[in-house]
Amino acid sequence: MAKISVNDLFFHYNKGTPVLKNINLKLNNSSTAIIGQNGAGKTTLVKLLKSLLKPIAGNIYINELNTKEHSAASLASEIGLVFQNPSDQIFNNNVLEEVKFGPLNLDYDKAKAEELAVESIQRVGMEDMIDENPYDLSLSERKLVTIASILAMDPEIIIFDEPTIGQDYENIKLIKNIIKNEVKDGKLVLTINHDMDFVAELFDRIIVMNRGEVLADGPAEKVFSKRKILEKAHLEPPSVQKLSNDLGIEKTFLTKKDFINYFNSL
């Protein structure tokens, strides 16, 4: 059984302007990145997965639960979504309370909820800011708070919508490690990301979306070798792939390391 199953999905906000058209996907444990231009329908799709929106036609199953029959709150232990804009997610006036809110709603007792919250806050390196008001924090810190909030609920499926926006070098390393650890723990990790280098380094499976449709879906090295499809979706390949294209090497490189190793082995 697939962790996520999307069958013949259609969606629009306003009649006559379709946002998602006939999406069919099965997602299991491979870490997956959804890429595509602004307006391709990526964020709408993950909001549907999270049951914040309901399909106009078709069905979405999260661990065999139909999102039409289950609210976002009731699916909280199955699937967690870190929003692109942290202000859409944060509503408490204290970091600890904010992060504790999820586990409390999953019916953990107060002590356990606090333990989970503190642990997650430590994972995002914010233990010094545990008593701060999230609105006094910078945008990048608020984003880390939202990541901690989702980690504290320990969902089986975790979606990061643009986790690296506005983050500096150190924080990007931290987020990479969090994602790697979640994958290692057997979670299904999904991301929406515009940074192709980040995607190529961390994610096994790539779904290319364009104007509400899935244009390509497969292993990263396969998808990133399809130049025409990337062009059609107005996407650029990862930096190292551009480099190897320029050099005329007919091999797909996903990371700096791949590229450097190739030359070292000559």
Binding site: G166, D168, E170, N171, V240, L247, F259
Partner: protein, 285 residues
């Protein structure tokens, strides 16, 4: 002649426990395209805010030293006076949009009404900058009902339309996809060819490497280095200072590929040339 002169600038926010900026001194020439890099808390945004006078006039706090824009000392002038010369685009477009206007078009007009431009001139400018930022088709939309990327472009167009001499942008492309980000950098670059002085904060090192002239490297409120971009990106301690070098520079460093001036290349073209030079055409294809 220098456009911007910063002398011994130190600043602490009212509730801060340490200086956000610490003894900053530098000069920026007219027409320069300057990139500011540094980790969180380096003082990048605070420096941007001080260039337009928000620091200290809006935020108060302890301010010492001075900033001169031409002969205008920001300490002695109001934000509205400074904003005739300096435009600032914030990181989060939500903070920029006035909320007072119902259409994208009127939002850009709003900023121009205050400078008392004749009507025809205003229309000309609004059209020009909406087109330049590729949001002309959305001109009748509500500023809060367009996408994050479009909102960011609107914020940039609104400030650009005022045609400041110095244009300060704090992570202006964070919400944009690569295509959108490229278009914005191209547009800014185009304007910088016409004497506009551009100061931009960004984590997008590859774009900074492509478009800027100089880089200012900040860490914990201090100037660590301020030089030609090739020199800054060639520093061996960038990562320790919390800054990722452009990916092509990183690769070059690991492959020990330097150019004649013994700098690592900072863009793809230059790296490609060095790879070909070292390995010939012999690598298997």
């Amino acid at each position: 002649m220098s456009k911007v002169i910063i002398k011994n600038l130190s600043y602490q926010y009212p509730l801060g426990d340490e200086n956000a900026l610490e003894d900053i001194s530098l000069k920026i020439n007219k027409g320069d395209f300057l990139g500011i890099v540094g980790p969180n808390k380096a003082g990048k945004s605070t420096l941007c805010k001080s260039l337009v006078g928000l620091v200290p006039h809006f935020y108060n706090g302890d301010f010492s030293g001075e900033i001169l824009i031409d002969d205008l000392n920001t300490k002695n002038h109001s934000i509205s006076q400074i904003s005739l010369k300096v435009g600032l685009v914030f990181q989060n477009p939500f903070n920029q949009i006035s909320g007072a206007k119902l259409t994208v078009y009127d939002e850009v007009a709003f900023g121009l009404e205050n400078i008392g431009l004749p009507r025809e001139k205003m229309i000309e400018r609004i059209d020009y900058y909406l087109k330049l930022m590729d949001i002309y088709d959305q001109r009748a939309s509500n500023p809060f009902e367009i996408s994050g990327g479009q909102m960011q472009r609107l914020a940039i167009a609104s400030i650009m339309a005022r045609e400041p001499d110095v244009f300060v942008l704090d992570e202006p492309t964070s919400q944009l996809d690569p295509q959108g980000s490229k278009e914005v950098f191209n547009a800014i670059h185009k304007l910088s060819q016409k004497d506009l002085t551009v100061i931009i904060v960004s984590q997008k090192m590859e774009r900074l490497a492509k478009y800027t002239d100089n880089i200012l490297l900040l860490n914990q409120g201090r100037v660590i280095d301020y030089d030609k971009k090739e020199k800054i990106f060639a520093r061996d301690d960038l990562e320790e200072l919390g800054v990722r070098p452009p990916i092509y520079t990183e690769i070059a460093r690991k492959m020990n590929l330097k150019n004649d001036k013994s700098y690592y290349p900072i863009n793809r073209k230059k790296l490609t040339d060095l790879v070909v030079k070292k390995y010939g055409q012999n690598f298997s294809k």
